[in-house]
Structures are given as structure tokens and as C-alpha cells.
Symmetry: C2
Subunit: 355 residues, 2 copies
């Protein structure tokens, strides 16, 4: 790899590796937490309406219509909302806009693995706080003396949620620094921190339409927070890329957030399937953590994670596994698919543990 023309800043940079997106074979795909149900029919209709001659025109750089719809949904004002090209971009812009060089950002050692990639990319100091043995968050270690806090709630890949009272503790102890709560999965069972926005100007909540609105393919993410803080994210975005959301993503996102009924239906199905699958895997001897997300985190005491993952893959099912840290390498993160997807998963798991 000839890095001769690479910036000095990125010579040692190790990027994030997303889950496999297979092209050659058809798999039951339970590895990147995509929603198993299609987007709302209203989304497809909105896209159709927007997909015409107007595509020659730039989209609204301020995503005003989408922000208006999100404001209505969340009971906020549009100034408290930022929209970006998927929550990965929104998170990246937040890290750049809100955290400062030399001011250590703290987050757990087991969490969304993109956070330390952003900090490395942007030359930010960070400290990874080890989760407790049971994967719960040692909240007492996040109470002050840092340059910012990032908490994923529910956490990835554990699926564990923090009660709102604990989020409040963190906010109260960190009033002088930004506290970012990543709620990518929160609609599946966590208490949202959004109601705390009025009270805590240092709070920013980041969400995405990739999981709960079946729009992973359209890249729509957003941040919710105090208007002054949101303006900082906007300042960075306007210094990098004026138009992060194309016309069709704006149309799709707005239609999705407005179709509350469809979302509640699909969410309900996913949560029920999650509970059934948790029970079924436990009956096979798996240790399955209670989950508030659209995936479950599980391991089998007698089988290595690597073996199970490969066995599933051989039989056409993809799940995610993380080699680091070592103590989770035998866990599988299994997205919640359709009921029949999960029946197939359980059947294969039954065979694999029988051997």
C-alpha cells in the first residue's frame, strides 16, 4: 500500500469494518441489524413522487421539511434537529463539532466500535471504560473529569439499556461537557433521553432510520439537542458538505417518520420475535442477554463463537461477531429477522449444538 501521498494524519489509521454485505449468494442476513420488513408503502410512494425531473436540482441544504416532521414527532423545534447522511455521518460530525483535542472523551470498551475510529481519525484523546462483568455500564466512572461522554443506549452489541435515571446522573455530573447518547436502537425498548433536552443544553441524542424505519438503504440519520449545540454540528456540516441528504432520502425520511402506524406495527412484530427467539435459544442452552434492541447478544457455553458463526454461514445465515475485546469473542450478535428467519436460525443452532 503506497501511502506516499497520504496525509501525515492518517498514516496509521485503521478504519471501521462494517458487517459483510454479500453479493454472490443469498443469505438470511442477520448481521447488520437491518429491519426485516420493507419501508412503509408511503415511503415508496414519496420516492416515486420525488423521482422526476426535479432531480436535476439541488436538495434543500437545511432539510427543512424533514426537520419539521421530526420536530412534530419528537415535540421539539426544528432548530433542535440536525439531519445527516446516516447516523454514522451524524456521529462523525458530532465528534468533530463537540469534542476538542486534548480533552479526553470517554466511552465503554464494549460499545459501537466506530467511536474509537472517529477519535483516531480526528486526533482526539479518548479513554475506554471497561464494562462490568455482566456488561452493565459502570456509571460511577463516567461522572465528571472528562472532555465529553458517549453512551450508546441500548448498547451495541450487548443490547443492554440504561434506565433514564442513570442517563440523568451522567448528565448532571458532566454539565460542562457534551454528552452524546446514541439511540440507534432505542425505539426497540429503551427509555429515550429526548425529554431531557430542554433541561440539559449539553445533551445530544443521535438516531437513525436504518433500523427502526427500514431505511438502511437510504442513509438518514439525525441529532436532537439544544439549539446552540445543534448549530455547532451544522457549522461543521456547512464547512464540509452543504447537501448531505439527497432529494429522495429527504422524501423517504419524511414519509417514514410521518407513518407512525406502520412503524409501530413493525416494531411490535420485531419485539415479539425477539422475545420468542431469546426463549428458544435459551432452551437450546444458549446464554442470551435480555435485549432492548433489534438484535440479541448470545453465546453457548460449549461452542466457540467462531465455530457457531461459521456453521451458520455454511448453512446460509449471517450473524455478527467481534474478535475484540477478547471477552466477547464467543458471543454472537444476531439481528432480529422475520419469524421464519429466526425459526431457520434456531433450527441450525439446534443442529450445531447437538454436534
Amino acid at each position: 500500500m503506497n501511502k506516499k501521498f497520504w496525509s501525515s494524519r492518517i498514516q496509521s489509521l485503521v478504519p471501521y469494518t462494517p458487517g459483510e454485505q454479500p453479493k454472490d449468494r443469498v443469505f438470511i442476513k442477520l448481521n447488520t441489524n437491518e429491519n426485516p420488513y420493507p419501508p412503509s408503502p408511503k415511503v415508496l410512494q414519496a420516492i416515486q413522487e420525488a423521482a422526476g425531473d426535479a432531480l436535476r436540482l439541488y436538495p434543500d441544504p437545511e432539510a427543512q421539511s424533514l426537520r419539521g416532521a421530526l420536530a412534530e414527532y419528537y415535540g421539539l423545534t426544528p432548530e433542535q434537529i440536525f439531519c445527516g447522511n446516516g447516523s454514522d455521518e451524524v456521529l462523525g460530525l458530532c465528534f468533530y463539532a463537540l469534542f476538542s483535542p486534548g480533552r479526553t472523551v470517554v466511552f465503554p470498551d464494549i460499545t459501537y466500535s466506530f467511536y474509537p475510529v472517529y477519535t483516531e481519525l480526528f486526533g482526539l484523546d479518548y479513554q475506554q471504560i471497561p464494562l462490568n462483568e455482566d456488561f452493565s455500564l459502570p456509571v460511577e466512572k463516567l461522572l465528571g473529569g472528562n472532555g465529553g461522554v458517549v453512551v450508546c443506549n441500548p448498547n451495541a452489541p450487548t443490547g443492554q439499556a440504561l434506565p433514564l435515571a442513570e442517563i440523568r446522573r451522567i448528565l448532571e455530573a458532566n454539565r460542562e461537557v457534551p454528552v452524546l447518547v446514541d439511540e440507534a436502537y432505542a425505539e426497540f425498548g429503551a427509555q429515550s433521553a429526548v425529554p431531557l433536552i430542554e433541561e440539559f443544553p449539553n445533551l445530544v441524542v443521535v438516531r437513525t432510520m436504518s433500523k427502526d424505519r427500514s431505511l438502511a438503504g437510504m442513509r438518514v440519520g439525525y441529532a436532537l439537542g439544544n439549539a446552540g449545540l445543534i448549530a455547532g454540528i451544522n457549522c461543521v456540516k456547512n464547512s464540509f458538505n452543504s447537501y448531505p441528504l439527497d432529494r429522495l432520502a429527504l422524501a423517504a425520511g419524511e414519509a417514514a417518520i410521518r407513518d407512525k402506524e406502520y412503524f409501530e406495527e413493525t416494531r411490535e412484530k420485531i419485539m415479539q420475535t425477539r422475545e420468542k427467539t431469546t426463549k428458544a435459544l435459551r432452551e437450546l442452552g444458549f446464554l442470551v442477554h435480555d435485549s432492548s434492541a433489534n438484535f440479541i447478544f448470545a453465546r453457548h457455553p460449549e461452542k466457540s463463537g467462531k465455530e457457531l458463526q461459521q456453521g451458520l454461514r455454511d448453512r446460509g445465515i449471517l450473524v455478527r461477531r467481534f474478535d475484540k475485546p477478547e471477552r466477547i469473542q464467543d458471543h454472537l450478535r444476531i439481528s432480529i429477522g422475520t419469524a421464519s428467519d429466526m425459526e431457520a436460525l434456531c433450527q441450525v443452532c439446534a443442529e450445531l449444538v447437538r454436534d
Copy 2:
């Protein structure tokens, strides 16, 4: 503006201001260089085919199919191609990936005004080289002793193109640093630097589908260059946002680049309209620079640019004008619209100069 929670890095940041995107009124819109013709019918068809249940799935993070189509079009390999969320994002990623703190980047004082915004955002040293009186580029001032060169060809907002021999001079004198050639407008009459990619591993060419493929609404931009250099841009992208292009942008971009016939037709119309409009405005006493882009740069010796711009706006026509540097504040940058758009423009201009 409460900047309390803003990073120390962005406290003094002044973002880029894009051209007006009006919502309240219908204008003849000649201010952001959008293509006046709709995207190819094949683009709309491709979008329709892709806009279904599959939107729940993540797009290809590596944009392989689009890169394959671009590789065929340009006679390059896919490894020599990077795709991003519009060329603004691609440029931003290039600035981060290829330029280093403490190594001065050089570009003209009159050029795409986003370049100094990226350098400010990323804490890069830069030097703006004054263009000659006639807005030509003093190439001799770009020959070595810097940390990187950025040349917009044709230049914005002047529309002036550099001969390929001059690009070669710049490349030869700067072999140890990246040279970025922004060819956003090149398809409208400049000699492309793409044939120099094999010979110069420090060259990166950035292009967009916003102007020449009528896809400003879909955000598709790309970089072309040596594989090692492209890998650096990819490294930054993969550390920031794995999936910059959504499924529909990928489909639209590929269909657009494959419909060469449609592109050549619309381009021909735009170039002819440009020549006609240049002639017509000169007959009204305007000084119109020869242009190799899809806009023209013109001023009237007896009218201030501000007056003309306002007069046009009052009569329903939007054009762009830059207050800085001072020596171009009386110029108008007028996008090439349809033949009837430009007739309307000329009629209004005739009235305005008659007063």
C-alpha cells in the same frame, strides 16, 4: 449563538454559503449551475427499479457497480476510483486524506470558495495565489515549494480553462505532493487531466454528476487517481461513514454514466446555448469571458453587479455574485439554462442596461 459546547477547533469557523435554493417563489434559476435538462430517462427507470423492499438493506459500501461503470467510461480500473456523497464531500475527504498540517496547500484567490473553508475546518495551512488581471492562472507561482496544489479546471466562477500542457507543468514541478484537479465543469469544454493519471501518481481528479449528468439532487461525486492515493481517501471515508451513497444514488449514478448518448445531447445543447448567450450579452455591452463551463462570467462596465443581480431577481431570475474578492464583485456568474431561460435573461438584461 451559544458556542459553549462547540469544539475549540470550530469556535471561529465560517462555513461555506451555498447559492440560494428558493422555496417560496418560482424563479428562472441560474445561480447554482444546475443542468437545465432532466436526468436521462434511464436514470429515472433505474431509480424505479431500485426503490422497493431492498431499501431496508444497506447499500454497497464500496459502490462497486458504480465504480465499474465509471472505470469503463474513463478507461481506468475500479481501484483508481472513489465515489462519494457529491463532489463537496469527495473534495473534503481529499483535503483530509491528502494534505498535512503544517504543509501549505496552494490554490488561487479566485476559485471555488469551498477550498479555504476545508482548510480552515481541518486546520490546514494554505496560501491563496492571486490570479492575473485577466483571471488567468499564474502557473509559475504553483511550481513547487508547497504541501499540495488545488486547481479548478475550468475555474469557478471565471469559467476559464487551463490547457493540458499547463496542468502537466504543475504536476511535473510538484511530484512529491498531491495535486488535486477539480473537474466539476470539465465536460463542458476543458481538456481533462484523467489521461495523466497513469504517469503521475500524485494526481487526483475530482468530478461530480451534479452539472453534467443533471443529478445535483442525488449527490454523486467521484475522484480518479492512482490506486495508492485513492486508497488514502477510502481510508478516511471508512473511518467516517461507511456508506456515503444510498441505494438510489448508486443506481442513478450508474445509469447516468452509462447513458453516454443522452449526456452528449444535453451537453451539446448547453454549449450551444452558452455561445449564443455570450454573443447576445456582448451585443448589450457586457464584458463576457470565454467560458469552458456550464456558466458564464460577465459584467457590465456601466452597472454594478449588485444592481444587476437585484434587477434580475426582481424580475424572477436568480444569478450568483460574489462579494469577495472585491475585484469580482461586479461580475455575475450566470448558469446556462434552456434556450428560453437565456432569452428571458437577455431580455431582462437589455431592460436593465437601458435604464
